[in-house]
């Protein structure tokens, strides 16, 4: 078993899927010949030909709209939006069409499509290369939303997403592409190749959608996180010395509520973290669910640590990013509550 970066793991998932199923096609802006601006599709055009992996015009609505038509035909398009910040032109096709086609046609037409996109900040990308729009998808019935936090999951979840018969939004935390990130930009980056969590099995395997993973067991407080924030939460637990249980949700919808419930009922406390803006972020849903399902076990209010309710600024990136210190303060606050 080799260690792979998250980019390599994603490429591997695409390769494995294209190899197994001739209906899997991959396309997007700069995705074909060049292999994508983050190189996730490198080599695929060479291996599978321009009919299976190709460049598209710069038209997110066109990319998704065409993919929906292809999926209705019987293909399994796995498309790339260059940055999650650029998905909005395709938002109508995703929410009005992909998400509802099975329902409105009573299953005559379906959309087994995956929309991959790099998400999150931490690379000085400013307001148009840093966003985390997951809550805009979790509100839409008919979609599934996935956010991996490491190469192993990225591969297994992406294969599962491609094999899923419904549209899946697959958000790739770009800050994790090359190595884990604990929220401390001043520390040198450790590549996945130097991290045991970079182990990725060869060939086909699947991580089922809808299953959370407990990354750190603990008794004092439950932290709900996904993507980059899983690593930040682990760092915050280590730095505060608080015995936090860190749950990596992996799939936001469908959500693994039983795992969350069991943990919060055990710890009696809960902190929710994400990078997206606070108001109406996915953390609101998590907090609402936790207080509803664990009300009588809660010893403190569920706190949310998130990006501020502003556009993602360039220079103030690290003031904006909900780093380990801020998460740590919230852990302390719920412990003292």
């Amino acid at each position: 078993m080799a260690r792979k970066s998250m980019v390599e793991a994603i490429r591997d998932a695409l390769d494995v899927s294209m190899g197994r199923d001739p209906n899997v096609v991959v396309f997007g802006e700069d995705v074909g010949y060049f292999g994508g601006v983050f190189r996730c599709t490198q080599g695929l055009q060479q291996k599978y030909g321009t009919s299976r992996c190709f460049d598209t015009p710069i038209s997110e609505s066109g990319i998704v709209g065409a993919a929906i038509g292809m999926a209705a035909y019987g293909l399994r398009p796995c498309i790339e939006i260059q940055f999650a910040d650029y998905v909005y032109p395709a938002y109508d096709q995703i929410v009005s069409e992909a998400a509802r086609l099975r329902y409105r046609s009573n299953g005559q037409f379906t959309v087994p499509m995956v929309v991959r996109m790099p998400t999150g900040g931490g690379i000085f990308g400013g307001q148009t290369h840093s966003q985390s729009p997951e809550a805009l998808f979790t509100h839409v019935s008919g979609l599934k939303t996935v956010v991996p936090s490491n190469p192993y999951d990225a591969k297994g979840l992406l294969i599962a997403a491609i094999e899923d018969d419904d549209p899946v939004i697959f958000l790739e935390p770009k800050r994790l592409y090359n190595g884990p990130f604990d929220g401390h930009p001043e520390r040198p980056v450790t590549p996945w190749s130097k991290d045991p969590r970079g182990e990725v099995p060869d060939g086909h395997y699947v991580e089922p959608l809808g299953k959370a993973a407990i990354r750190r067991e603990g008794k004092a407080v439950t932290v709900l996180a996904y993507g980059t924030m899983v690593h930040v939460a682990e760092a915050a637990a280590a730095e505060t010395g608080i015995d936090a249980e860190v749950i990596d949700l992996r799939t936001l919808l469908p959500l693994d509520l039983p795992v969350i419930e069991a943990s919060v009922k055990k710890t009696g406390r809960c902190v929710v973290v994400h990078e997206a803006t606070l108001t109406s972020g996915y953390g609101a849903e998590l907090a609402a669910l936790v207080q509803e399902h664990c009300f009588y076990h809660l010893e403190a209010p569920v706190l949310r640590v998130t990006g501020w309710d502003t556009p993602y600024p360039h220079a103030q990136e690290w003031d904006y990013f909900p780093g380990a210190a801020r998460v740590g303060r919230a852990l302390q606050a719920v412990m003292e509550a």
Binding site: V25, S51, R52, T56, P57, S59, S61, G62, G65, A66, A67, I68, G69, M70, A72, Y73, G74, L75, P89, D92, Q93, S96, E97, L101, R102, Y103, R104, S105, N106, G107, Q108, F109, T110, S141, G142, K144, D164, D165, D166, G210, L253, P254, L255, L257
Partner: protein, 410 residues
């Protein structure tokens, strides 16, 4: 710095408004038979003129003339007439059913029957339409059962779409009719994607996209043209220019452009304009475009020049924005009458047979309606279950939906 005069704001206006005398003098109608018929391989640049004229086959004497004539047998023409008459009778009954409160909504095709009825007959089995809400003729001409259409309209227990969709938003994969979306233009690019998929798989199926004049302004129209042009997708892109988009005349979407068909030129897509009220012309042009797609020659853009005789929908009253008698002044006539007269002119039809056929068809439609109503109408009789509401959101119902269904008591 030069002295500048103040600018002024320009908003296009239709020639007449309610109270005025209908005026279509800006619609230039070329003589039937006068527009050439190029080879399907023709270089798009060499046939730009076809986007600025109107291809017509039936002349004032009800003869089929010119290079686009001669494709259909008498039987096929009679079948075409039957399709259009069926659609018209269907419209009449369903419009009335809506007025009677048997459903919430209906949209008629009056005046536009030739477009979808004739187009469908140019397709091969397996080809796929991506229609708007005003192409039920595609279903009728492809033999989809009227009862099923009505059950959908009634949202009753036999509604193939389980009551989930607004009336007339049919879907039939089997009959090459993609699920209608209430959102305009979205399906135009999906048609291109479907056609791309067929080419990717080296299959032989083609797609047909449909859009209204008003909806060409939507962004997905552009996406469709860009993708169709780049990947030479085997798709026919149809614009039904029925002069109106609810209360808005086509000049607001068309702007300074000569015609909607001309929008294809910037993409190197062969673009044709055809008399949408001429069954023979529609069919001939459709055949030409379908042939191009099947032969791997790429997309074709077709503008059907027609007129929406009725209201936009049962929620609309056109007397608020256009002269009541405007449709009488429409220079391209009525598609049913024109085909009827052609058949009479050919000596294979008569007023009497027509009246008899009309009665037969109406009886069929009424019979279908009776049958459909035994399965319920929107507000009475058997209906889809509330349980159905929770099904089909996903292939497998996720836990949160199961929880909600339980909570709802089903």
């Amino acid at each position: 710095m030069p002295e500048r005069k103040p600018l002024s704001f320009h908003v296009p206006e239709p020639a007449v408004r309610p109270g005025g005398t209908p005026d279509f003098s800006d619609v230039t109608v070329p003589r039937a038979g006068s527009v050439r018929r190029p080879e399907v391989e023709a270089d798009p640049e060499s046939i730009r003129d076809l986007a600025y004229s109107i291809i017509r086959v039936l002349n004032r004497e009800s003869e089929a003339v010119g290079p686009w004539a001669g494709l259909l047998t008498d039987d096929e023409l009679q079948q075409g007439l039957r399709d259009m008459m069926t659609l018209r009778a269907f419209d009449a009954r369903m419009q009335m059913a809506q007025r009677q409160g048997k459903t919430s909504f209906y949209m008629q095709h009056t005046g536009e029957e030739a477009v979808s009825c004739a187009f469908q007959r140019a397709l091969d089995p397996g080809d796929m339409n991506f229609p708007t809400y005003r192409q039920a003729g595609l279903l009728i001409a492809s033999g989809y059962p009227m009862v099923d259409m009505m059950c959908q309209i009634y949202s009753n227990e036999r509604d193939p779409l389980k009551g989930r969709q607004l009336p007339i938003m049919y879907s039939s994969r089997e009959h090459g009719f993609f699920s209608i979306s209430g959102n305009l233009a979205t399906q135009f690019i999906q048609a291109v994607g479907w056609a791309m998929a067929s080419a990717i798989k080296r299959d032989t199926r083609i797609a047909a996209g449909w859009i209204g004049d008003g909806s060409t302004a939507e962004s997905d129209f552009h996406a469709a043209l860009v993708f169709a042009s780049t990947y030479k997708a085997p798709v026919v892109l149809n614009i039904v220019n029925n002069q109106w988009a609810i209360s808005t005349f086509q000049g607001i979407a068309r702007g300074g452009s000569g015609t909607f068909a001309a929008r294809g030129h910037g993409f190197g897509i062969p673009s044709l304009r055809v008399d949408g009220n001429d069954y023979l012309a529609v069919h001939a042009v459709a055949k030409w475009a379908v042939e191009r797609a099947h032969r791997g020659l790429g997309p074709t853009l077709v503008e059907y020049v027609t007129y929406r005789v009725g209201a936009h929908s049962t929620s609309d009253d056109p007397s608020g924005y256009r002269p009541k008698d405007e449709s009488d002044a429409w220079p391209l006539g009525d598609p049913v009458i024109r085909l009827k007269n052609h058949l009479i002119q050919r000596g294979v039809w008569s007023e009497a047979r027509h009246a008899q056929r009309e009665a037969e068809i109406m009886a069929e439609v009424i019979a279908a309606q009776k049958q459909a109503e035994t399965h319920g109408t929107l507000h009475s009789g058997p209906k889809p279950s509330a349980r159905d509401m929770f099904e089909g959101v996903y292939a497998v119902m996720p836990p949160h939906l199961r929880r909600q269904r339980q909570q709802a008591g089903y």
